[in-house]
């Protein structure tokens, strides 16, 4: 059942966004996330949404794949919205019923909160959708390199990450085999209430743990046999170079960030005016 599920959310496609350097994507995702917290006006949110749509479009991703990641935080969004809606009590009162008060300010804050969360999660999911786990691990290793100066074992951490990723399909297969083996002996794994089911997992998890340790042991021998730790300066076959498209992507995201900052701190009236122009009486 797990056989063809590729790990994580990666959506394979041949697009310029998929081909960007993983390090650039990691950094730009961070910039985008920070940028979102500076957005204050509806104008700013429209700008963010436009950028997001531009990326989704050039990455040739179906909208559904991005929305799927939003679905995961739906509960959080709803809860945050309800709390915001009823807790903000300043500004003009729109509705008042017993202890429940909804103000104009509250409505605006709530809408902006929802927009912020949805844009944040969709933007962050683009990273996982367009980058393979291996590229992500390599990118993180490369970005963490300066930490080696303060004696963080970056190389070993990177090796652990990539081995963990490498063994996910293997362990999935193993789990399926154990499930089949236990079922063949009469284990019922998918009947009964939640507690019965959790208890039924024990005979699956114990052999899985034991075999994982055995695998780890053998892998350690295999790595030793192939001279792991032979030198302090382990070299890499693949060297990622920053391409023109990486620079271009960086420029786009950084100019977005600059516009957001300018709009917030130097020209707040622009956002307010545009908001008023578009939504007019609604505000």
């Amino acid at each position: 059942m797990f056989k063809d599920v590729s790990f994580g959310q990666y959506y394979p496609a041949n697009s310029p966004v998929h081909k960007l350097d993983a390090r650039i994507k990691l950094i730009l995702t961070l910039v985008y996330i920070i940028g979102i917290f500076f957005v204050k006006s509806y104008f700013g949110f429209m700008l963010t949404a436009a950028l997001l749509l531009l990326i989704i479009f050039s990455a040739r991703l179906p909208m559904a794949s991005v929305l799927r990641s939003v679905r995961g935080i739906l509960l959080l969004v709803v809860l945050t919205a309800i709390i915001n809606l009823f807790m903000i009590k300043d500004g003009d009162v729109l509705v008042e019923w017993k202890i429940f008060v909804i103000t104009k300010n509250g409505v605006h804050t709530t809408i902006k909160m929802i927009l912020r969360l949805v844009l944040l999660i969709s933007g962050a999911s683009l990273l996982a959708l367009t980058t393979t786990p291996v590229e992500l691990a390599d990118g993180l290793e490369s970005l963490m390199k300066p930490l080696a100066l303060i004696k963080v074992p970056v190389r070993d951490i990177a090796m652990i990450m990539s081995i963990a990723l490498r063994f996910i399909p293997t362990l999935f297969d193993e789990t399926n085999k154990i499930v089949s083996a236990q079922k063949a002996r009469g284990a019922s794994l998918d009947t009964g209430n939640i507690f019965a089911r959790i208890k039924a997992l024990v005979p699956v998890l114990v052999p899985l743990f034991v075999s994982s340790f055995r695998r780890a042991d053998e892998l350690a021998f295999a790595m030793d046999a192939r001279c792991y730790n032979a030198t302090d300066k382990r070299t890499k076959m693949k060297r990622s170079k920053i391409k023109f498209s990486d620079v271009l992507a960086a420029l786009v995201v950084l100019s977005f960030f600059t516009v957001i900052l300018l709009e917030r701190y130097y020209f707040p009236s622009v956002g307010i005016n545009i908001d008023a122009m578009i939504f007019g009486g609604l505000l």
Partner: protein, 276 residues
């Protein structure tokens, strides 16, 4: 001096306080460069332990192993020894380090700290040698067992070894996968790489030019396949003859002598000679 010199080697597994297991006992033998050796014996006869002793994964408890004149106990040269004596293990899944095939083959050379161009060159060479070039950007998890073991051999070849040890590397494969791997191994041996194939399968052992049989940690029989198969000790070592040799023996006992038979090919040759 031979390329591999094993001199009075014993190895003791410490199990727990006061309890230990002597897996290899006072073993001495030598293997010349370019030989094709099959190492066989029952479970627990010490053959896998011997393999791990040969590339310094284990250090001898007594005695000494010399690889190309350097002791495996010499910590300063341990990585040099491991590079010279490459090892392919039984379970293909538990020796693949990277997700992509080319990355896995590059693992060894990367560990040696070689320059990038050199690594690329060696990965190309190694994948070519095992006939897996077209799969280089595939995921290792999606290959067949035989293909996975060929990739594992490529991973060793990329380090330019002198000796290739196969530690029951074909035991988890189907007959087709076994053939694939053995073909590659024979080819490498003909190019001068010393091969030590550890196996339970006597038909596979018959393919080697020299068969070493171990029993309870000691050397029991050492000779050509036909010498080993005609040895009276074979049964005591828990081994049975491969079908072709067994049939030839039966025939001989009932009066039809077709000479020394080790493989199906030599059986056929023997029959032909007899018919002439």
């Amino acid at each position: 001096m031979a390329f591999i010199e094993i001199k009075g080697v014993s190895y003791v597994y410490p199990i727990r306080e006061g309890v230990s297991l002597k897996a290899v006992k006072n073993l001495s033998l030598s293997i010349e460069a370019g030989e094709f050796v099959a190492l066989t014996g029952m479970n627990g006869s010490g053959k896998s332990t011997l393999a791990k002793l040969l590339n310094g994964l284990f250090k001898p408890s007594e005695g000494e192993i010399m690889i190309d004149g350097v002791s495996t106990a010499d910590e300063d040269h341990i990585f040099d020894i491991r590079r010279k004596v490459g090892m392919v293990f039984q379970n293909p899944d538990n020796q693949t380090v990277a997700t992509l095939i080319e990355d896995d083959v590059a693992f060894g050379p990367e560990n040696l700290g070689l320059p990038r161009e050199e690594i690329v060159q060696r990965v190309n060479f190694a994948l070519e040698a095992v006939g897996m070039s077209e799969y280089r950007t595939r995921e290792a998890a999606k290959l067949s067992g035989g293909q996975k073991q060929r990739v594992a051999i490529a991973g060793v070849l990329a380090m330019r070894p002198d000796v290739l040890i196969l530690d029951e590397a074909t035991s988890m494969l189907d007959p087709a996968g076994r053939e694939e791997v053995l073909d590659v191994v024979r080819q490498l041996n003909s190019q001068g790489i010393t091969v030590i194939n550890i196996t339970h399968n006597m038909e596979e052992a018959a393919l080697a030019k020299r068969v070493i049989v171990m029993r309870k940690g000691r050397l029991a029989i050492d000779g050509t396949p036909s010498q080993v198969f005609s040895s009276s000790l074979l049964q005591a070592c828990g081994l049975t003859l491969p079908p072709a040799a067994a049939l030839a023996k039966e025939l001989k006992e009932s009066g039809v002598d077709i000479g020394a038979v080790t493989t199906e090919e030599s059986f056929a040759e023997g029959i032909c000679k007899l018919l002439k």
